[in-house]
Amino acid sequence: MKPILEVKNISKTYQTPKGEIQALQNINFRMKEGEFVSLIGPSGCGKSTLLSIISGLEEKTMGEIYIQEKKVEGISPEIGYMLQKDCLLEWRTIWSNVMLGLELKGIRTKESKAYVESLLHKYHLYEFKDKYPQELSGGMRQRVALIRTLAIKPKILLLDEAFSALDYQTRIMVTEDIYHILRKEHITALIVTHDISEAISMSDRVFVLSKRPATIKDIHKIEFETKERNPLNCRESPKFSQYFNTLWKELGVDENK
C-alpha cells in the first residue's frame, strides 16, 4: 500500500545568538492511511518540533515531506493540527468556533456549512451550537476543537499533547472519544505525547525518539488480541503492561545517560 505520509531525512537546526542547536537528525518514517502513530521521547527532544515541521508551521533545515506521494512545502490542506489547549475563542459561539478554519481559509460554502452541521449532529453538539465555550465541559470543548479541525477535511491529523491540559478522568474519556471519531472519519493520526499509556492505548505503532538531536531510536508495533480494540479495553490486556514496561525502560535509560 502506498504511504499517505512520508517523512524523508528531516533535520532541523536552530540558530540562536549563543550558537547552533540541532533538534532533529535524519528522521525517516512512513505512515499508512488510517494508521495511528505515537511519538514518545524524553522531554525537550524535539517531538513537537517534528510535528510543527510536518504541519508546515516551521521550516525544516533538510529533508522532504510527501503526502500521498506528492512533495509538500508550507502548510498543507491535507493536514489538521490539534494543540495542547482546545484554543476555542471565548467570544465566539460554538458554531462560529467550528467555522473558524473554513472562515480563515476563505472556503465557507454551502457544502462546507452542511458538512460542519452534519459533524455537529453526528457528535451530539448541534444543540449547543449557539452556546459559548465557557458553557461547555472540558471534554465537549475538546470535541468542538476536533470538529473545527475536521471541518477542513484533513486526511492526516497531528495531535501535539492534545489532551495534556485536561485532568486525568476527562483525559481518559476524551482520548476514548477522539479515538472513535478519528477511526470513524478514517483519519490518519500522528500523536505526540509524554504519556506512555496514552501512546500505547491510542496507536498501532509507537516511535521512540532519542535525546536531542532526536532520531527515531526504536519502533514498536502495538497489537492486542481484543477484537474491537479501543483505548479503554486494551488497558486491561496483559500485553498492555508489557508494552508499558518496555517503553518505560527504553525512555528511562535515555534520561539517565
Binding site: L57, Y81, W91, L100, Q134
Partner: protein, 265 residues
C-alpha cells in the same frame, strides 16, 4: 425556600452595605457642616477657604458666572482629546504590533516620552499649534497617547500564543490574526485604556487651560485664584470632580454593556 443561615447571611450583607453608605454620607455631611460652622463662627477666614453656602450660591447662580459655557468648553475639549488620544494610541499600537522592527526602533523613544512630564511640552505646543482650544486638545492627547500605546501593545503581545498558532494552522494571514484573534481578545485592554484615559485627558485639558484659554473650568480656577474669588475656584473644582465622575461612569456603563452582551460573559 431560603434556609435560616442564608437569610442571616443576606441580612448581614445588607447591613454592612448600608453601614458603609451611611458612614460615607456622614463624613461628607460632617465635613461640610464643620466647614460651614467654622466659617460662620469666623474660626476660619471664609475669604480664603470659602464656605459651602457660598459655593452653593455660586452654583445656583449659574447664569451670572457663565458656568454652563465653561463646563461645556472643558467637557468638549476633554471628550475630543480623550477620543483622539485613545484612538491614535490604539492605531499606533497596532502598527507596532504589526512590525517587530518598528516596535524595536520605537522602544527607547516610548520609554523616554512616557516618563517625560508632558506638561513641560505646553509652551512648545502653544507655539506650534497656536494658543487656543487646539493647543488644549493636543495637550490632552499628548498626555494619554504614550500610555495608551504602551498598554495596548503590551496587551497585544501578551495574547495567548496558542490561539495565534491555532489560527496559523488554518493558514491565517497576519491581517486575519489581527482582526479575528488579537483585537477581540483585547477588549478588556481597550476598556482599561478608556478608564485610564478619562482621568489623563482631564489632567491635559486643565493644565492646558491653565496655560492658555479664555474659557473652561481650568480658566475659571486660574481666574478665580488671581482675583481671590475662592468661591468660584472651589465651585469649579467641585464641578470638575462631578464631570470626571460622570465620564468615568459612562465608561463603566459601556463596559457593562459589552461584558453583558453574552459574548464575554
Amino acid at each position: 425556600m431560603k434556609t435560616n443561615e442564608r437569610k442571616l447571611y443576606l441580612q448581614k450583607r445588607r447591613r454592612t452595605k448600608l453601614l458603609v453608605a451611611i458612614t460615607q454620607i456622614f463624613i461628607l455631611v460632617a465635613f461640610l457642616g464643620i466647614w460651614e460652622w467654622m466659617a460662620n463662627k469666623e474660626m476660619i477666614d471664609s475669604f480664603i477657604t470659602s464656605q459651602p453656602s457660598r459655593i452653593w450660591a455660586t452654583l445656583t447662580n449659574l447664569g451670572a458666572n457663565d458656568l454652563v459655557k465653561h463646563i461645556q468648553v472643558t467637557a468638549y475639549e476633554t471628550i475630543v482629546g480623550f477620543l483622539l488620544g485613545t484612538l491614535l494610541g490604539i492605531i499606533i499600537a497596532i502598527i507596532l504590533w504589526w512590525s517587530d522592527f518598528l516596535a524595536k526602533v520605537a522602544d527607547p523613544y516610548l520609554v523616554v516620552l512616557n516618563s517625560l512630564p508632558k506638561v513641560a511640552l505646553g509652551p512648545i505646543i502653544i507655539i506650534w499649534v497656536g494658543a487656543g482650544t487646539q493647543a488644549i486638545i493636543v495637550m490632552a492627547v499628548a498626555i494619554s497617547l504614550i500610555v495608551t500605546i504602551l498598554e495596548n501593545l503590551n496587551g497585544f503581545l501578551k495574547t495567548d500564543e496558542n490561539l495565534i498558532k491555532m489560527a496559523k494552522t488554518f493558514k491565517a494571514s497576519k491581517l486575519q490574526i489581527l482582526t479575528k484573534i488579537i483585537l477581540p481578545a483585547n477588549i478588556s485592554t481597550f476598556i482599561n485604556s478608556l478608564k485610564v484615559n478619562i482621568g489623563l485627558s482631564l489632567v491635559g485639558v486643565i493644565s492646558g487651560e491653565f496655560l492658555v484659554s479664555k474659557a473652561g473650568l481650568g480658566y475659571l480656577i486660574v481666574y478665580g485664584g488671581q482675583v481671590f474669588k475662592l468661591d468660584l475656584v472651589m465651585t469649579s473644582v467641585i464641578i470638575l470632580g462631578v464631570l470626571a465622575g460622570i465620564m468615568y461612569g459612562a465608561v463603566v456603563l459601556l463596559e457593562k454593556v459589552i461584558l453583558n452582551s453574552k459574548k464575554f460573559r
